[in-house]
């Protein structure tokens, strides 16, 4: 099993995430899709790190995971706040910020 396989899996994961983000309307699912893309990137980083035998990629992945955790906290808070305002999870209803 070469590093190439890891990249393929990461690419598939990223595509699923991107597709889900673009096509689904449920905001929670969209949020999970974002996480999926994020983790695809992390998988790439870790795979490349071990194949080049360099610690930098792995440590960058660790930072990325920490940031993702913070992002989840903020993101969920926003979604909950919005849900209180308007009991809907449909992203199509979210149009208030039209310029």
């Amino acid at each position: 099993m070469s590093v190439f396989h890891y990249y393929v899996v990461a690419a598939i994961l990223f595509s699923i995430g991107a597709g889900g983000f673009l096509l689904r309307r449920n905001i929670l699912v969209m949020f999970m899709s974002v996480e999926l893309m994020l983790n695809a990137a992390n998988l790439c980083l870790v795979a490349a790190s071990s194949s080049f035998d360099l610690a930098r990629g792995s440590s960058f992945a660790l930072v990325s995971i920490a940031v993702a955790a913070a992002e989840v906290g903020v993101g969920l808070a926003i979604i909950i706040a919005w849900f209180r305002l308007r009991p809907s999870v449909d992203a199509g209803d979210l149009q208030e910020l039209r310029g």
Partner: protein, 650 residues
């Protein structure tokens, strides 16, 4: 002494602030008291200063204004013989006219506004007269111009009045340009704008100064004077200025503001003395204006217009005096003219008041029965204006004519024209007097008044306001008339002819004009025979003109009741069509030019500015379509962008 000067200048401005801030709260009586005392206080201070004055000029500095290494202009006011004379006239007559206004304007809803403007005028005029630098003088100069504009258009709800105000403002602007040019030239040459310093330097460098520069300075100053003092060719605003309330005409457009030009020439007399060319221009313009305006005055119907043209004419006399080097005579005529012209205007105001704003002299007549005080004082004013001894105007006019007639060359010719003008003046003055006060009563007929109530006198009903029966004005209006009448009788005593050895004014003003006479040479002394000769000639002409005017019109206007349609009378009645000529030659092209400029402004300048704004707006319109608020659009754009970056970078 300094305190007195500061009070003189500040009191009117304090009152302006008070009247403006409390304009809604103050009742009319309080506004009248504040407005009048704001002029009475400076007058009393000036009288006190006059008695403390020992011949050395006093400067009082209020505060700094412009400070710098090149130009230093403090708010400093200088009291010397000339400014003291003018301040006495401005505050003294100003106070009387303020009192008169209380009666004249008592029914006006904008009573407080009127006194605010009037006080602002007095303050500006004092700043003009007392300012110790040309900058301060200019500040006052513009201030009085502004007040003139505001007061001419005081009843601005009639478009005619507002237009007259605009005309005065714009015509004065042309003159002000001359003043500014003179100021720049003076500053370039002397490096200071302090009037006393400039005069001293000019006198000291009399031999070395470039005569062309001196002539240009003097001529530029005189352009300013032509605007402010209504001389040819800039006089047209003054007759129109009669649209303002009558006390304004008396104060601003007869007694004080229009003499600012005379003041400026007298103040800077050294420059005119050093430049024979400029002096000749001043004398010729003055004489031409005197004659020209007098001819127009012959056929005017409006009581105030006659007086307005006579003011223009008398101002011409003053410039004639200054131009031929008779400076004291010019200043003397300013003072006597202030007395009798203010009197005549206030008398005219009393007549207009009694007849409910009728100004056409053809619809007056026989008023001596109804307005005894106004009649007597107006007669005294007319005698003084006509130059009949022993009234004030006789002495001052005779001084000017004598100085002109006994010189040589051009001034002598101007003196002859001055004599003819004196004849015309006496004629139109008594034409006006006869039309207004003598003959049969012609008011109450015609378009307004009650045409149906028959006899003039026998209307016994309790109707309050009865158009057919004019009544004498209240004491607030007749009191100033009586004071001014006394002054118009006695004013000549200020400067009696030489043989009487009592030239008070001439002695007082001697230090002011000494530098100018050092350049010109001492004024020519006339023999007693010469003086008496000039007096007799001018007196005969004046009495002849007055008698002719009186006898021709004491029965009524005769043929002049109708508008003339041809010949000289037609030209005179229409003021030589000067306004129409100006409209075609100057106003029309200026209007066309401004229309063109307006067109350019709207099309090109506005087009450019609005075009840029439009472009930005439409670009923004396109870009804001991206900000549609839908999460999926953002996500798609985001991913497309990321994909683009990935393709470019890899």
């Amino acid at each position: 002494m300094e305190g007195l000067i500061q009070t003189i200048v500040l009191a009117p401005f304090v009152s302006v602030a008070l009247l403006f801030l409390l304009r809604r709260q103050l009742p009319k009586s309080a506004a009248a008291v504040i407005g009048c005392s704001a002029v009475l206080v400076p007058f009393l201070c000036t009288v006190a200063a006059f008695f403390q004055f020992d011949g050395t000029p006093v400067t009082a500095t209020l505060t700094q204004w412009m400070t710098g290494s090149v130009l230093n202009v403090p708010f400093a006011f200088r009291l010397d013989q000339l400014s003291l004379t003018w301040t006495l006239v401005v505050t003294g007559i100003g106070f009387l006219i303020h009192v008169y206004s209380v009666g004249y304007m008592h029914e006006d809803p904008s009573f407080t506004r009127f006194f605010t403007y009037l006080n602002l005028f007095v303050g500006s005029m004092l700043c003009l007269v007392l300012g110790d630098s040309m900058v301060l003088l200019f500040l006052g100069w513009e201030g009085v111009g502004l007040c003139s504009y505001l007061l001419i258009g005081f009843w601005f709800d009639e478009e005619e009045n507002a237009k007259a105000g605009q005309k005065a403002f714009v015509v004065n602007r042309i003159g002000d340009l001359g003043f500014l040019v003179a100021m720049v030239l003076v500053f370039k040459q002397f490096g200071t704008l302090n009037i006393a310093d400039v005069n001293a330097m000019a006198a000291a460098q009399a031999a070395t100064l470039d005569p062309t520069l001196v002539t240009w300075i003097a001529l530029a100053l005189f352009v300013g004077c032509c605007g402010k003092s209504a001389q040819l060719p800039l006089y047209t605003w003054l007759p129109d200025a009669m649209a303002g309330p009558t006390p304004v005409s008396a104060l601003i457009h007869a007694a004080t503001m229009v003499t600012a030009g005379i003041y400026l020439v007298a103040r800077m007399s050294i420059f005119f003395a050093m430049s024979p060319t400029a002096s000749t221009v001043v004398a010729v313009v003055g004489c031409a204006t005197a004659f020209f305006a007098a001819t127009i005055g012959l056929r005017q119907r409006d009581i105030k217009k006659v007086l307005a043209y006579s003011t223009v004419s008398q101002l011409g006399y003053m410039f004639l005096a200054l131009g031929i080097g008779a400076y004291t005579a010019g200043v003397f005529h300013v003072i006597t003219h202030a007395f009798f012209k203010a009197l005549l205007f206030l008398g005219a105001g009393s007549v207009i008041h009694a007849l409910h704003h009728e100004q056409d002299a053809m619809r007056m007549g026989g008023l001596k029965k109804y307005l005894p005080i106004t009649h007597k004082t107006f007669l005294i004013g007319s005698l003084a204006l006509a130059g009949i001894a022993p009234f004030a105007g006789f002495f001052s006019k005779d001084k000017i004519l004598g100085a002109a007639l006994y010189s040589h060359g051009l001034p002598q010719l101007l003196g002859v024209f001055g004599l003819i003008t004196a004849l015309l003046t006496a004629f139109y003055t008594f034409r006006l007097y006869a039309l207004v006060f003598q003959g049969e009563e012609r008011f109450g007929h015609g378009t307004h008044g009650h045409a149906d109530h028959g006899a003039h006198g026998g209307h016994g009903g309790g109707h309050g306001h009865d158009h057919a029966k004019p009544h004498e004005s209240p004491l607030t209006m007749t009191f100033p008339l009586m004071v001014l009448a006394v002054l118009a009788v006695l004013g000549g005593a200020l400067s009696l002819p030489h043989f009487a050895h009592s030239d008070l004014l001439g002695k007082f003003l001697e230090p002011i004009f000494a530098p100018a006479y050092a350049v010109l040479g001492a004024p020519h002394e006339h023999t007693v025979a010469q003086e008496v000769g000039a007096m007799l000639v001018s007196l005969v002409l004046a009495i002849g003109g007055a008698w002719f005017g009186f006898s021709k019109f004491s029965e009524g206007p005769g043929k002049q009741a109708e508008h003339s349609t041809k010949g000289l009378p037609f030209l005179l009645e229409n003021k030589w069509f000067v306004d129409e000529i100006y409209n075609v030659l100057v106003v029309g092209p200026m209007r066309a030019l401004s229309h063109l400029a307006g067109f350019f402004d709207r099309l090109v300048v506005d087009g450019l500015v609005n075009g840029v704004a439009g472009m930005v707006r439409s670009a923004g319109g396109w870009i804001r379509m991206m900000q549609n608020g839908a999460l999926h659009t953002y996500a798609l754009l985001f991913i497309l962008g990321a994909a683009y970056l990935a393709i470019v970078l890899l």
